[in-house]
């Protein structure tokens, strides 16, 4: 599914129902609860972390410890069209560093693009190491990425066109 990342407002009673069933059905549920909250609401708010602590019967410090350990988990809303460029070695070997710098420059010149994409949250390896530089845009994997292909992809998503990338290139 390709779309702008749009999430509903925090709803405690709905979250409580979902999380209660996760806690009932799974051993060691704290990380599962955090992931569920993030998938549903886009990020983990203080209220959500407190609810998870209550339902998992652990301290708020325990939940905060897990929340801050993992790079995926966030405490602020995500950008509308998140762009994540691979920052690992295989992509470095095909110009990943230069691409990341050029993309940051493009975002410096275009405020809307910067806000919409969050510029770049580097990610260490997307498993597309033979077709680098790789990127993930709104959760969709791209290969042989250029600044131009990123821009095209972002505007496709912005305009609601869900055609897969690269099919005409």
């Amino acid at each position: 599914m390709i779309s702008r990342f749009a999430f509903p407002q925090w709803n405690e009673s709905e979250a409580r129902a979902r999380l209660t069933s996760i806690v009932r059905e799974h051993d060691g549920p704290v990380l599962l609860c955090l992931q569920d909250v993030q998938n549903t609401y886009g990020f983990v708010s203080t209220a959500a972390a407190e609810l998870i602590a209550e339902l998992c019967n652990v301290s708020r410090a325990d939940v905060t410890g897990v929340l801050t350990f993992y790079a995926d988990l966030r405490t602020t809303p995500p950008p509308a069209i998140p762009v994540r460029l691979c920052a690992a070695e295989a992509c470095q070997a095909v110009g990943g560093r230069a691409l990341a710098e050029a993309w940051r420059q493009t975002c410096r010149d275009d405020d809307q693009l910067a806000v919409e994409t969050g510029v770049d949250e580097p990610i260490f390896c997307l498993g597309n190491c033979a077709l680098g530089p790789a990127a993930m845009v709104s959760g969709e994997l791209m290969g042989r990425v250029t600044v131009m292909s990123l821009q095209e992809r972002v505007s496709e998503i912005r305009e609601g066109n869900s055609a897969p990338t690269g099919c005409d290139s």
Binding site: A71, C129, L131, C167, D168
Partner: protein
């Protein structure tokens, strides 16, 4: 009727495979979505056969325009001929990957038609102890990097009594676990991903065999969150396997029950370390545990647990189906069987090469890989992921095997081969290794947590040309402390890329 085969692999999709499939379907064609053949520079690689199991011809780098103007024939410039005759494929010895790129990954009939399930059936016709013996005889060693003999690990778990989960009363249900480490975080590796997307039932079959052999009743797959396509494929495959009676309370109609759950990682590299993975599976911070106790004795939730890499477990169905001796006949010295090498980075022909151990790094990079993508001279090859050494071109004749690589100061790791051309700055790469360790360290032990930060600083001073002799000495001393004093491989192996860069490419540190 003509059948078209279009990969659904994430790498092929990243190059536009979905658009091709949609265009073919719009034209009214029959389309089977397969895994990828592993010739990633040819993606999207589209194949065609006169019938479902007929021989297939292919076209490389296909575009939607090629489909729409119906130009894919023998005269098309991207025509490859019969795909299985391409030397990149025909030279390989595919064991784990025998079905990947060929079958519909979620079709149980297709799976069995190509040899699937024969391993589980063979295993369950034997006593569990005989299955353990077969795995020992095969010589199979862990593919996650450490290379520990799988049969010995399994035997240790088989020898334990099942236990109640930690914190539960002693009358609670007793368990043993099979945990698959699918947290494939090494840069330049994607063999786990492509197997999970291209033949997920093979992984589940291997887990069921392991569970039968050691007396486990629950399976967990720890999958990294960066692999959403693999998550979809595995979840669907678990549903298929349950519906077919290959998983569940009565596996293949027997009294043996085993079921599998997937848990996603959350973007932490160190969680690929087995004890950090256990912590993460239990929902906590991915902090490395001190060993002993071994996970085989006190593992997930404190019960006996087999932890193996995806490729280790996926090797097992073939070993049971085709015989442990056939497997042990492949390879060299103490490295038996096949390894799935992954050619990545600045390489002309990147992808999957499954070969018996003993193939040289040079054959992989030059013969299979066709040299650098840029066409510039090769400068270095990093073997075994971010914790592996950088080898200069004159060392590439080393055979790819566990012990042989250690002799030249390198390691097999997860089989990744990342190629760099002469534009690479190896001091920058060394700095990145330290930076990465600082970023991803779990923080439990001091050499890794603080050493990595200090490492970045020392390399920066070295590159500025300040007092280089002292800084070099300091860097080597720091690497020694990290190597000897770290709790796990994260801090303990980070010196590999740093020191190999310093040893082989000293000139890059002083410009």
């Amino acid at each position: 009727m003509t059948v078209w085969f279009v990969p659904k692999d994430a790498a092929a999709r990243s190059m536009g495979a979905d658009g091709i499939a949609a265009a073919l379907i719009a034209r009214g064609e029959e389309v089977v979505r397969t895994g990828s053949r592993g010739m990633l520079w040819l993606e999207p690689l589209v194949e065609c056969a006169s019938e479902r199991n007929g021989s297939r011809v292919g076209w490389s780098n296909v575009t939607v325009a090629d489909i729409n103007d119906a130009s894919l024939d023998q005269n098309h410039p991207a025509y490859l001929g019969e795909v299985e005759l391409l030397t990149f494929l025909s030279r390989q010895q595919r064991w784990i990957y025998e079905r990947v790129g060929i079958i519909d990954p979620l079709d149980p009939q297709d799976y069995q038609h190509h040899g699937g399930l024969a391993g589980l059936k063979a295993a369950m016709a034997m006593a569990p102890a005989d299955v353990l013996d077969a795995v020992k005889t095969s010589g199979l060693r862990g593919r996650g990097g450490a290379g520990f003999p799988a049969g010995i690990k399994w035997q240790t778990v088989a020898d334990q009594e099942p236990q109640p989960l930690r914190g539960q009363p002693s009358r609670a249900t007793r368990h043993k676990f099979i945990c698959v480490n699918a947290d494939e975080g090494d840069s330049g590796t994607f063999a786990d991903r492509m197997l999970m997307e291209g033949d997920p039932l093979c992984l589940l079959e291997g887990m069921a065999i392991a569970a039968y052999a050691v007396g486990a009743d629950r399976g967990m797959i720890y999958l990294r969150s960066e692999y959403p396509d693999a998550m979809d494929a595995l979840s669907a495959a678990i549903d298929v396997a349950r519906a077919e009676g290959w998983l569940g309370q009565s596996v293949l109609g027997s009294e043996f029950g085993f079921d599998v759950e997937i848990r996603l990682g959350a973007g932490s590299y160190v969680c690929g370390e087995e004890t950090a993975m256990l912590e993460s599976l239990e929902g906590r911070r991915g902090m490395v545990r001190a060993k002993p106790p071994l996970p085989a004795i006190k593992g997930l939730f404190g019960v006996p647990t087999v932890i193996n890499n995806v490729l280790t477990i996926a090797s097992v169905p073939g070993i049971l189906a085709r015989g442990a001796e056939a497997y042990a006949a492949l390879g060299c010295e103490r490295s038996r069987g096949t390894q799935v090498f992954q050619l990545a980075g600045n390489i002309a022909q990147g992808g999957i090469v499954e070969m018996a151990f003993g193939v040289s790094a040079r054959e992989l990079v030059e013969d299979f890989g066709g040299g650098t993508l840029s066409g510039r001279p090769l400068k270095a090859v990093q073997l075994g992921g971010p914790l592996g050494s950088y080898l200069p071109p004159d060392q590439l004749d080393v055979p790819m095997a566990y012990e042989a690589l250690v002799e030249v100061g390198a390691m097999l790791g997860h089989g990744g081969v990342v190629v760099f051309d002469d534009s690479a700055d190896m001091a920058e790469q060394a700095r990145f290794a330290m930076e990465f360790c600082a970023e991803e360290s779990c923080g439990k032990c001091t050499p890794c947590r603080i050493g990595a930060v200090r490492g970045v600083e020392v390399i920066d001073r070295l590159r500025e040309g300040k007092d280089t002799e002292t800084q070099t000495l300091l860097l080597r001393d720091l690497c020694d402390v990290m190597k000897q004093g770290s709790l796990c491989a994260m801090g303990g192996l980070t010196p590999n890329p740093v020191l190999s860069a310093l040893d082989h490419f000293a000139e890059d540190f002083s410009r």
